[in-house]
Symmetry: C2
Subunit: 258 residues, 2 copies
């Protein structure tokens, strides 16, 4: 049961593919549907029966599929969502086109309309905002990709020179925090004397705000000072200051040894 229709994600995808095929080729054949969805034809037959039962398509065995009025309406909406999400990922964030489309085709079934509307509004706002000139996106992309290369280039390597438009400090912050597979540990795992860089700060807004106020931001360097016997409190040194964190706070901080 996807967020919007009362169909499963799988059936929504079938419907979407049918609309695409009708638009592109005038008709949708079982074989082409199977190919696009990377499933066997036997699976398509089953799906077409379920869609027929829902009144979204009209088809008779061995004939090509057509969308009913309701099916066309729904398929168009799903496709619209898909295309907006893919465009956001590709054109704004610079995600590779194929990955963007794959992600979009998964997200489209689960994101709420509220989030989607707000995302659309945000994109629109950035484009229209007088303080954000139209080059923002391309400058972000060039800056991000520079950072990408640096991270991808290996550990010991020197960072590439960044172009002049990168905001000060951008590359010092942990930009690629999710794809970092290994080496990310909990703050509490550090031993006295260990130096590390903050990767992410999780937890409730209250805890996070307090930590951020103290300077515990992604990218910040710190040194473990002392861990009390039961892990509470934990003393760290950050930007020359000594901080004492409670166990519950420390548990929300992921770090990476430097």
């Amino acid at each position: 049961m996807a967020q919007i229709s009362n169909l499963s994600s799988s059936l929504e995808d079938y419907l979407e593919i049918i609309l695409q095929l009708v638009q592109e080729q005038g008709e949708a054949r079982a074989k082409d549907i199977a190919q696009r969805k990377s499933v066997r034809m036997a699976s398509v037959t089953g799906a077409l029966k379920r869609l027929t039962a829902e009144g979204l398509i009209s088809y008779q065995a061995r004939e090509s599929v057509t969308l009913t009025k309701a099916g066309e309406e729904l398929a168009g909406r799903i496709l619209g969502r898909h295309e907006f999400i893919a465009r956001f990922l590709h054109e704004i964030l610079g995600v590779d086109g194929e990955t963007a489309s794959r992600d979009a085709c998964a997200i489209e079934h689960v994101i709420s309309l509220e989030s989607l509307d707000r995302l659309a509004g945000f994109v629109e706002y950035l484009k229209l905002c007088p303080e954000v000139d139209e080059l923002l996106i391309s400058r972000f992309l060039s800056c991000y990709n520079m950072g990408c290369k640096r991270v991808a280039g290996g550990r010991g390597e020197k960072p590439k020179e960044c172009n002049s438009t990168c905001p000060r400090g951008f590359h010092d912050r942990a930009v690629k925090i999710f794809s970092r597979k290994a080496g990310v540990i909990q703050l509490s795992e550090l031993k006295p004397g260990d130096r590390a860089r903050v990767v992410s700060v999780r937890g409730s807004v209250i805890i996070r705000q307090r930590l951020i106020d103290m300077g515990v931001l992604p990218g910040a360097q710190l040194e473990m000072q002392r861990v009390a016997p039961l892990g509470d409190p934990i003393d760290i040194k950050l930007k020359g200051y000594h901080l004492s964190l409670r166990k519950i706070e420390a548990a929300t901080i992921s770090v990476e040894r430097v």
Copy 2:
């Protein structure tokens, strides 16, 4: 099979919940897991067996669950993703906290790490960009919500006065394009003389670029002039100009009668 682990979304959620419970209460009991996931206890038992088989948790019948090293690592990553997505939706886009968390808990399983990294980078960039002052987000939210009220207020109602920070034209564009349930039709469905507003332009980048160059943008008002017998070409009037669209182009345009 979620994008990152080789677990199903459901099992990733179980793991995430277990980590949360361990962090909050020191241990994870089957009953609490069932409650958080809104499933019956029998379902939990099954899930715990599968997670044990994957080596992610260690548990014996009727005892409380603990995470293995590998399980803790993975659960932490899933939770990190969840929290970042929820924070983006809530704190940047202004989505209601509960909706944001629900969306995040679905998106977290399907979004690629590439997209997530780039999203994190984009958020970071906006915060650090010298031309985008720190009030951008709050100004977007106040502006968007103003638009919200206007749209939600009903059709015939006068728009609320917008605060002075809204970019010129923001409210004229179709901001809430996804939650609009009814009344959105294809351009080709209009009859000569009908006036409509563009809701979205889909289709390939090439077609979209051409249409955008001609001024066919979301929010633009147009009037249908003439539809040739076979639907090709379609003549419309837009901002005083006459445009002739091919059928394939017109098919990518969704409009709303005004």
